[in-house]
């Protein structure tokens, strides 16, 4: 049993950008974390002060020296994180979770992102683009202002299809409507609210395209210790091999430990 606290990173903020009001991108000096982070993984960020839990945040971006987090100021803990300024310390636990499986990925991939989901898909897009794939980003939000970081994805080489609830940018309506009417890719990656993921899974199933969905739920531990973040999988799921067989054919796997990325075909909606 390893006893070294090897996945605790005492980082320092090196840059802070407000992508739009209420959406912050923090960049931290964290070479060891950056070296091992894989697309779709996340960290638990410890808000300085007296919060009662760390916050799960996707690993948004990374280079050799640093990692970036992108987050929406949702409640108390993200408010504390948003108050951090360059030079201040921030402790990150991670990388956590399985991440997207991009081994042998096909050359035509669609990434579906809704709201904060955008924070968990950039690294996947970059890796796919590096491997020479065509990457289309289907990106939805409530309103144009909240479609953040479009430039980052575009300049990396993504094709971008937008959708907003109010029609202020791109299609008026759901981003999955845009996906449904598009030329089908060979692989779909998705991160966003549950209804969006559900619609994505339906589209993928009917087109017979594999889809990997990054789920989000309220976390407590983020490391598999509290069983607060489960999702039902089909019993034969390869992602939850360690659970006993249950009477009714459901396996409840931990999103933080067995996920957060699940193959759409393994989920029991």
């Amino acid at each position: 049993m390893a006893v070294s606290a090897s996945r605790v990173h005492e980082t320092r903020v090196v840059a802070r950008i407000e992508a739009t009001a209420g959406v912050v991108v923090l960049r931290m000096q964290a070479p060891e974390l950056a070296a091992i982070a894989r697309p779709g993984q996340f960290v638990m960020a410890i808000p300085p002060g007296e919060a009662s839990a760390a916050v799960a945040l996707g690993l948004y971006d990374a280079d050799a020296e640093s990692v970036s987090l992108l987050f929406f100021v949702a409640g108390k803990r993200t408010k504390v994180l948003a108050a951090l300024r360059p030079g201040e310390p921030l402790v990150l636990l991670g990388p956590l979770g399985n991440g997207f499986d991009l081994r042998d990925a096909p050359k035509d991939v669609a990434i579906v992102a809704g709201g904060v989901g955008i924070a968990s898909v950039l690294l996947a897009a970059l890796e796919l683009l590096r491997a020479g794939a065509r990457v289309r980003l289907f990106y939805g939000a409530r309103t144009a202002r909240l479609l953040v970081e479009r430039e980052r994805f575009a300049s990396a080489g993504c094709e971008i299809v937008l959708a907003t609830d109010d029609g202020t940018a791109g299609l008026r309506g759901f981003v999955t409507d845009a996906l449904a009417s598009a030329h089908m890719p060979a692989l779909i990656l998705a991160c966003g609210p549950t209804p969006m993921l559900r619609a994505t899974a339906t589209i993928a199933a009917s087109a017979n395209v594999p889809a990997q969905l990054a789920l989000e739920e309220t976390f407590a531990c983020g490391v598999g210790g509290c069983w607060g973040c489960v999702v039902p999988l089909v019993q034969e799921s390869a992602q939850a091999p360690h659970f006993p067989k249950t009477r009714d054919g459901i396996v409840r796997a931990r999103i933080c430990a067995e996920g957060p990325v699940f193959s759409a075909s393994e989920l029991r909606w």
């Binding site: 049993m1 390893a2 006893v3 009662s52 309220t218 210790g225 069983w227 360690h242 409840r252």
Partner: protein, 320 residues
């Protein structure tokens, strides 16, 4: 002159610990989940997630809600059942650098006894905690720990099923916790864990429904600390067996409140979700606290702030 090292070891009803910190049941997995983030050789013990006789899928999602200075949970005892746990998980814990405490839950006296029996037979298990106070599996707050007679019978049965140290975990959701504590002691408990979570709920005001799949849940974290400290203070006056104080401990000062109230050791649950380094930091700071006061052992200060309650007459100028 070299000052002798401070002694943080404690004995909790026969369970010998190098550090006075137990990782709260249900908050630390089997310990393995936290090994990448904490030095498990610097904590007192790991209390496993409570196990039942049959496997349980637990409650519907959502199971967690963050509240001011607290956390509501309604896991509903998701667990693979005691047989699977013993064979597949506990058996793999042999190399752990700290003692492992099993936690038994159930829906009948007999079920508790059977789970205790299986844990008793596991060499990797150093002690058994009897979780008679989980608020998340009964419909409207009824648990064994809410009734003195039920407490007595389940503790007696568990006592008969194991010779390992038996820690009985009490509920704060009662009118008189000291009365329940006395029953548990009389029925054979070696120690008491005080307290489990406080019953609570949250409502989604957009969707007009409870935020937890199970409607009600258990509140933990700093929000409940004052409630838990008082529970320990009262129980310590009622029993002679040692107490593991818990509820909202996040730093050494919090831990000291419980120890000074009468706890021999402390449980740390929710604070691990903020920062898994908390338990080790608490041990270091407790040692500093003792050293700076020329105290040699943590056991010296147990209950030192507990001088009981004032009677109405004793209170200064209580009547005008």
């Amino acid at each position: 002159m070299v000052r002798p090292p401070v002694d943080l070891s404690v004995n909790v009803g026969g369970l010998a610990l190098r550090y006075p910190t137990l990782m709260g049941s249900g908050c630390y997995g089997t310990g393995a989940e936290f090994a990448p983030f904490a030095d498990l050789s610097r904590i007192g013990a790991i209390v496993l997630k409570s196990a039942t006789l049959a496997p349980r899928l637990g409650n519907a999602m959502p199971r967690l809600v963050h509240t001011p200075a607290g956390l509501l949970n309604a896991i509903g005892l998701q667990n693979p059942g005691i047989d699977w746990l013993v064979e597949h998980e506990i058996a793999a814990l042999g190399g752990m650098p700290c003692p492992i405490v099993g936690s038994a839950a159930g829906f009948s006296v007999d079920e508790y006894a059977q789970v205790c029996g299986r844990l008793d037979a596991s060499p990797e298990i150093s002690a058994i905690e009897l979780n008679i106070s989980c608020p998340n599996v009964a419909s409207e707050g009824e648990t064994f720990a809410c009734d003195a007679n039920l407490t007595a019978s389940v503790v007696r049965a568990a006592r008969a099923a194991t010779r390992k140290p038996l820690i009985v975990k009490l509920s704060p959701n009662v009118t008189d916790i000291a009365a329940i504590a006395r029953e548990a002691e009389r029925a054979g408990a070696d120690a008491l864990a005080v307290v489990n979570t406080v019953r609570g709920m949250a409502i989604d005001v957009e969707r007009w429904e409870p935020r937890l799949g199970n409607v009600a849940g258990g509140l933990s974290g700093p929000a409940i600390r004052p409630i838990a400290v008082l529970a320990v203070y009262e129980v310590a006056r009622a029993v002679r067996i040692p107490i593991v104080g818990q509820g909202g401990i996040a730093n050494a000062s919090d831990a000291l409140e419980f120890i000074l109230a009468g706890a021999s050791a402390v449980g740390i649950g929710t604070a691990n979700f903020l920062d898994p380094r908390v338990p080790e930091r608490i041990a270091v700071e407790l040692a500093e606290y003792l050293a700076s006061r020329n105290l040699r052992a943590i056991s010296e200060i147990v209950g030192r702030a507990n001088a009981g309650f004032a009677t109405p007459e004793q209170r200064e100028g209580d009547a005008g």
